[in-house]
Symmetry: C2
């Protein structure tokens, strides 16, 4: 149980975290700050936060739990702004989709208080942004990746694990670099591909006619293309090298499929699709391959 959550960034991710913590009885009071004053006001009106703070620093004053829920590129500046009030007994977390850059920025910004920071990435989200969509259920059942370093304090890491578990999440720890390489493959590249497909269709003269016949497969495949542009600009630039490496592998796989489409025999294409289809059919979200549902 925490006395006071200092929430910096009252959008979908931060607002949902505040609502979930309050509903689970994990925090007594939420003091919130958003860069846009109207968002902070709206967050209070919606009951997402209890008290508006006029600055990030003042949102941290008196807090024993701090969540920084801002675009990844703004994490360093935000942590720098609150540094003087971060204590060795405070738990500070983020929710960013990239971790190597966040850890580096946090190390520079927090210096001797870097040990209070537990980098966190809850695998949850929506294609709508803003505090209006904050939802106490957003993290329910989600996977949360923590990427502690050798400086992370054990007490804070344990608190973070317990907190996300209490919110109904499955918690896993890994090194920041391992996290970024994995998410380049299963999240960042799929977003890039979905953006590219929408861009490609949009650039054709008959775009409207094409979109008018698109069905459920298209709907699901492109759902992530509607994601927040600034957030994804930051993620793709922050994790650029890993994403480009995954894109190279993807293009090789695509070229192999295209070759097979033009082969004399049906078999090479069927073999490639069968492998892809079987891999996807056996995959279950949040479960290691080869294990069964309980």
């Amino acid at each position: 149980m925490f006395e006071q959550l200092g929430l910096i960034g009252c959008g979908l991710m931060g607002g949902s975290f505040a609502l979930a913590c309050k509903r689970a009885g994990l925090v007594r009071r939420v003091v919130g700050y958003s860069k846009s004053p109207s968002t902070t006001v709206r967050a209070r009106q919606l009951g997402v936060i209890d008290v508006e703070a006029p600055s990030a620093l003042l949102a941290v004053a008196g807090a024993d739990l701090v969540l920084v829920a801002v675009p990844v590129a703004a994490t360093g500046a935000t942590l720098k702004a609150i540094r003087h009030l971060v204590t060795p007994h405070m738990l500070v977390m983020d929710v960013g989709s990239t971790k190597h850059d966040v850890v580096r920025a946090a190390r520079q910004a927090l210096r001797d208080q870097f040990g209070s920071f537990v980098p966190a990435h809850p695998i949850a989200g929506r294609e709508v942004a803003g505090v209006e969509h904050a939802d106490a259920q957003l993290y329910q059942g989600a996977q949360v990746i923590l990427t502690p370093t050798e400086h992370t304090r054990t007490a804070q890491l344990r608190q973070a694990q317990e907190l996300w578990t209490a919110l109904g999440c499955r918690v896993q720890s890994m090194a920041p670099e391992v996290h970024d390489a994995a998410f380049a493959a299963v999240s960042h590249l799929p977003h890039l591909l979905a953006f590219a497909l929408m861009g490609s269709i949009n650039g054709q003269p008959q775009a409207d006619a094409l979109l008018s016949v698109a069905g459920p497969g298209f709907r699901d495949f492109t759902r992530i293309a509607a994601a927040d542009p600034q957030l994804w600009r930051d993620v793709l630039r922050a994790n650029r090298d890993e994403v480009l490496a995954q894109s190279r592998l993807f293009k090789e796989a695509l070229a192999a499929l295209e070759d097979a489409m033009q082969a004399d025999s049906d078999q090479p294409l069927e073999d490639l699709i069968t492998l892809a289809s079987a891999t996807r059919a056996h995959w279950r979200m949040g479960r290691a391959r080869g294990t069964e549902d309980p």
Copy 2:
């Protein structure tokens, strides 16, 4: 109202059509045939068909409505097999995802009875195949594209429109070539990309670790990768030229995004993602762009 549906291919698509027609009171009796005798038996046991036919030809005997629901590559041979029983008063349709090749095959196979054939593509499906998954609701609310030619009989075309409308579908007509170009962009290429992503991940030594952290975005993006390999082998090969043309445009859009990821400024990437995101956010399934929900 039809007296007898001759169903050739009692899988997901065919079986669901039979169930939907019976539920809507549009056919009195269903005579079914599948290449695998055990499927035909199972279809009767499940009440999907009323009578088992020992051949495609015998499924057509006495029918006033025929649905050919077999892989697109098998459409020609199937129509050839039933040709002698196709009459000028019979409505014959398929459900294939490509239409140019189907129309060509039908023209060759049916010759002077080609006018009874109305090429149809209901935009519906599942990532599970087989008569066990047949569902009277599968086509409810779906879009159906008819691709008549100058030889298609007016009476049959009207019957086809009325039939699909009565099943709760929105019916649209277009030329076979226009259909294939559009579906290359919004269906066939997305499938190819989803297969390529799964293949790319599967080919990496750490594939299991990558898949274990994949979340809801990955789940939806790759859902279509679990599709039936033989069906999609046929679709991609039948519509190869259009799919490869769309893939070239896609790769240009991807290259532009990758360049923007490496630009000095944030702006080019944000601009490209904003355009993609806005296009997707304003799209609604089955609705022309710019129109509003009723």
